[in-house]
Symmetry: C2
Subunit: 439 residues, 2 copies
């Protein structure tokens, strides 16, 4: 893939380059242009490439481009998209635009897309494809292959093929390769895999994607509440879901709302907005630290030296808490930790925190003793031990509790833990200081 | 998938359950047992399921199980694994054990595995499968299908088939479905896709995985430095790589080393070790804050009230810095930001930080003015504006610089940014305070 930007201002060279580059490179370059340039380049694309490039773009960019194209160009693009990609796109667009585009679709396409849009957000139904080739167990492998050949254009994937009974109830899955390798006369029922992982249409997308990842399968069949086959989630959609979920977890660990769009397509204002609420909430929560310090103002006045260590101590506590929280959030996301492991996790993290605290406390004692004296050395060491233990406990408890009450654990991870640990750490510090200094 | 744990102590029921459960559920349950229980359950597995379950386990668990099995059991398992999975397993094991296992393989299997182990860490060569079915462009579709049928057992996937010339140079890719759908007499050269994305054996794994994700392909062909085909990276391995990379990024954002193993299989000591070095480094870096405060001890003594706002101000700065850093790290990982965007990114982030700072500074002024007075309100507001801007600049600069000098950007993200911002934030705070209070 060439890393040089497109020659926006030289129409001839640009047209030439666009005809030579593959769709992935073009999509990649488009994503990094300013909106006006993007529309201009897109309109210059050779006819055969426009759909390919469009499908590879982010929904945010697709929406933006659609707004800039003429009605018939829009309809042509939208008609040719896969139903699940189309549903995802429509999901992000204003309702008036969606209605106009739905009107341009064939009745069948319209029905497919409307059905997907009817499922809850983040559910398997939203990302599944309803376009599949259904087999029945009494067909022979040769008949099945024949059916695949005839219906190839109607399905999103030919590699994973669901087998159902007359009432559309899923009874197994078969892969294209099994049909190719089987003796032509073998019935599908004999070679299909009846031990398949079935997904319900209202299952969480992330759960479905993790299943596809863990089981190394190309697609998972989706059934409705009555057990009837309604679609399949394919591996490429699973990858996109996992990527988006991990992007969300990472953003929340860094105290931002996920952008859900490429960095350069977000305006300065949108970037600030994705952070403003978090930053404000955390700052308001941090007012707690002002109150704690205010309560100890006398102690502070009689020993200003205590103030010198405030950032160091609460910083260390915050880091220890963030370590626990990120480990737990990640382990829950990949299902290494389940709700019933609650107590086991907290006990483990408490011990890890204690170990780390004792290590830091022991290392800190000699230098503080040398520079500032024995009393302060004891205060600092004891505070480090207590704060690290406490921070690890809080850091593991908060995501676990969040999960119990149905909140995304990543939301309450690192930044919230840090803020809570800051306030309790200060309390611990000054209580220990008072006791040892006898103020 | 049943969420109830296995009945470890009731051999009969356990055996019964193991024969009924599918391999994925068993692997899932095994991962959450203590090591001794895991070995016990694994030995009870019905013969046909042992390999399936084993392949689904984490490398850390595979290693642990192998240590507990008898020599011939080990050899049987290892012989039946795919070469790339085997290479990944060997990679984690002590050299003496690997030598013993290599000796038990057939010459061909040994050569395949040794070759994969010869490629650099994190390279495409390490995760590719060398077992593939190669086609030539002059074959007809029928001949190609015939070849696929005869060699099916020797390849990891039948869906993506590389087409090469006589010298093994890659000239295109063809999918199984294209062979199935084509007229039997069509030559492969006419239906293959010659615009394929080729990966070099020493390319970074993450880059390869992102390519497979972006291009929605089932496998990417891998060529050596002379352009000769040596293997393919398949979509299931790409998913695992992306999962592992995002786990690493998340761990580092939370100031830990990635565990690289399931949570419960890590001992308390290992958990502590994955965090100790980071925590220690950050604490040592935080000594800077003690020095800054020490330099302003006089200012602090004459206005102890300044101390009350220290945790709030540096906490807010740290959060703003973490927000920038995580956004940039993520955007670089998904290739939305490239090295040449350096200046553009820093300018954007600086403006976002300024916007956020002005918002917080404006909101903070009235309450501080009311409770503590006008001078302090001005100090706090000005500090918030400066610190947020500074934090966003540092937060975007550090990962960008890390990338330039070849360090994983996630390493220097949130926690390091926070520590640096803490010290500079204090400096800014006291300089502003001195100027306004005239101390």
């Amino acid at each position: 893939m060439p890393e040089t930007p497109l020659p926006i201002d030289d129409l001839q060279t640009l047209r030439q380059q666009l005809s030579e580059l593959d769709v992935l490179s073009i999509a990649d370059d488009l994503a990094r242009l300013e909106p006006a340039e993007r529309a201009k380049v897109f309109r210059l694309l050779p006819k055969g490439k426009a759909l390919g490039v469009f499908q590879l773009l982010d929904a945010a960019h697709q929406e933006e481009l659609l707004m800039g194209l003429r009605q018939e160009q829009v309809l042509r693009l939208v008609q040719e998209m896969d139903p699940d990609d189309r549903a995802r796109l429509f999901d992000e667009m204003p309702a008036t635009v969606v209605r106009k585009m739905l009107a341009g679709l064939s009745p069948r396409e319209r029905r497919d897309t409307a059905m997907l849009l009817g499922y809850p957000d983040e559910s398997a139904g939203r990302i599944m494809t309803p376009r599949l080739i259904r087999l029945v167990p009494t067909m022979t492998a040769a008949e099945a292959l024949d059916r695949v050949r005839r219906r190839a254009g109607t399905a999103e994937t030919l590699y994973a093929l669901p087998v159902t009974d007359e009432e559309m109830r899923l009874i197994g899955m078969i892969e294209l390769k099994d049909l190719v390798l089987a003796e032509p006369e073998t019935p599908v029922g004999e070679i299909m895999n009846s031990e398949t992982h079935v997904v319900r249409v209202d299952d969480d997308q992330e759960k479905v994607a993790r299943l596809i990842q863990a089981a190394d399968i190309l697609a998972a069949p989706v059934v409705d509440l009555e057990g009837r086959l309604v679609g399949m989630v394919t591996v490429d959609d699973a990858m996109d879901v996992l990527g988006a979920e991990e992007g969300e977890d990472l953003a929340r660990t860094g105290a931002s709302e996920p952008l859900r769009r490429p960095y350069f397509s977000a305006s300065i204002f949108r970037l600030a907005r994705s952070r403003a609420v978090w930053l404000l909430m955390l700052s308001v929560a941090a007012i707690l630290t002002v109150n704690v310090l205010n309560a100890f103002e006398n102690t502070l006045e009689s020993a200003v030296v205590l103030a010198l260590f405030i950032p160091l101590l609460i910083g260390t506590g915050g880091n220890a808490g963030a370590q626990s929280a990120t480990t737990i959030v990640r382990s829950m996301a990949v299902n290494d930790i389940r709700p019933e492991d609650f107590l086991r996790v907290v006990l483990r993290e408490g011990r890890v925190g204690l170990l780390l605290g004792v290590m830091l406390g022991t290392l800190a004692y000699p230098p503080v003793w040398y520079f500032v004296g024995g009393a302060l050395a004891s205060i600092i060491s004891l505070t480090l031990i207590t704060v690290c233990t406490l921070a690890s406990l809080v850091g593991s408890l908060m995501p676990l509790i969040a999960r119990k009450v149905g909140v995304d654990p990543a939301v309450v991870s690192a930044p919230f833990v840090t803020t809570i640990v800051d306030a309790t750490g200060l309390l611990v510090y000054f209580l220990i200081a008072r006791a040892i200094l006898g103020i």
